[in-house]
Symmetry: C2
Subunit: 193 residues, 2 copies
């Protein structure tokens, strides 16, 4: 997605060896117009797939996911990273290890929102090691639903997340794919949409 | 907001004495169409106020906030409840006590996103004790920005959050106001919009 790549080059900040900070338009301050266009591109990519639900994980995935859901005209569900006193019913969970935070957390979705008839598009802001998306795939599979694809806003293609998800038999659609960071410069490889 | 009240009566679940669970359309699964209409009502209420930023707090506030930002044509910022390794610059923080979770957490916004010229509309999903919104007002005031109003999707009017915010001199606009729960029934009082 050309517009997204241009925006990353304009507003992204590279921290250290492998951290890209995009808090100006995605992870802290959010540009609704860009999110709307991102949602439309994901919806176009999966227009023929019969998607019935969009699933993401709190919090940065919510904005691109809600616009994807709108463009596909289906509900959006965001998985919870933290336990909540109102989650009392049947809950599906998966353990997710975060390499950046070095902690394991339990990600959960209420089972009533996923059925055997659901075809799910997962949306997330970043793909690095793929652990969050892997956890979501595990939960959705537990529910008997089908994961049709994973839509990623920014993929760090030098990490192995894409391989992890493809090894699970799931298609990955990334709108920007970062090949590497070289001398404070960011190089893209060809994106999926 | 009639449409919202009807939806709460149809899909809300009352747990115990004072918990309303609306995970079917707001706090877990999200109905984009209702969120869009909610965003439009908030934008109409503050159309003449010169709003330059919408601020919310992760995670359930994000969907109504992004559609409010869209309808007002301004950026949305979501405050963070948890520390993040990419937040390295000037950060404004406030301590927020959660009565339901009985923990104090630090809420933060990067200072670069708020300036003395900003007029801010805060959006949140629930107003109960008002501690989260109070923390956001403190942060926004630290930045020298003006809080024009607080837009709330569902207010528990039998708790003192509204009074806390009005005592800080801030206007509260709630789309549904719950007067009480009586014998498993929910009673509304007149909403602000």
């Amino acid at each position: 997605m050309k517009l997204l790549e241009e925006r990353i080059l304009k507003d992204g900040n590279i921290l250290g060896d492998n951290i890209l900070k995009v808090d100006i338009f995605l992870t802290h301050q959010v540009d609704f117009q860009l999110m709307q266009e991102i949602g439309q591109v994901f919806a176009d990519s999966y227009a023929q797939a019969g998607i019935t639900k969009v699933v993401t994980i709190e919090a940065s995935g919510i904005a691109p996911a809600i616009y994807s859901a709108q463009a596909l005209n289906v509900p959006m569900i965001f998985a919870k990273k933290h336990k909540n006193i109102t989650m009392t019913e049947g809950i599906l969970t998966a353990e997710v290890y975060s390499f950046t935070k070095q902690v394991t957390s339990t990600v959960s979705i209420a089972s009533k929102f996923l059925s055997k008839d659901d075809k799910v598009l997962i949306i997330d802001d970043f793909l690095a090691n793929g652990q969050a998306a892997k956890g979501l795939i595990e939960i959705i599979t537990q529910a008997g639903s089908q994961v049709v694809g994973v839509g990623i806003v920014i993929e760090k293609s030098f990490q192995d997340g894409r391989q992890v998800l493809e090894d699970m038999g799931v298609q990955v659609t990334s709108l920007a794919r970062i090949k590497n960071f070289e001398n404070g410069q960011l190089n893209f490889m060809e994106a999926d949409a």
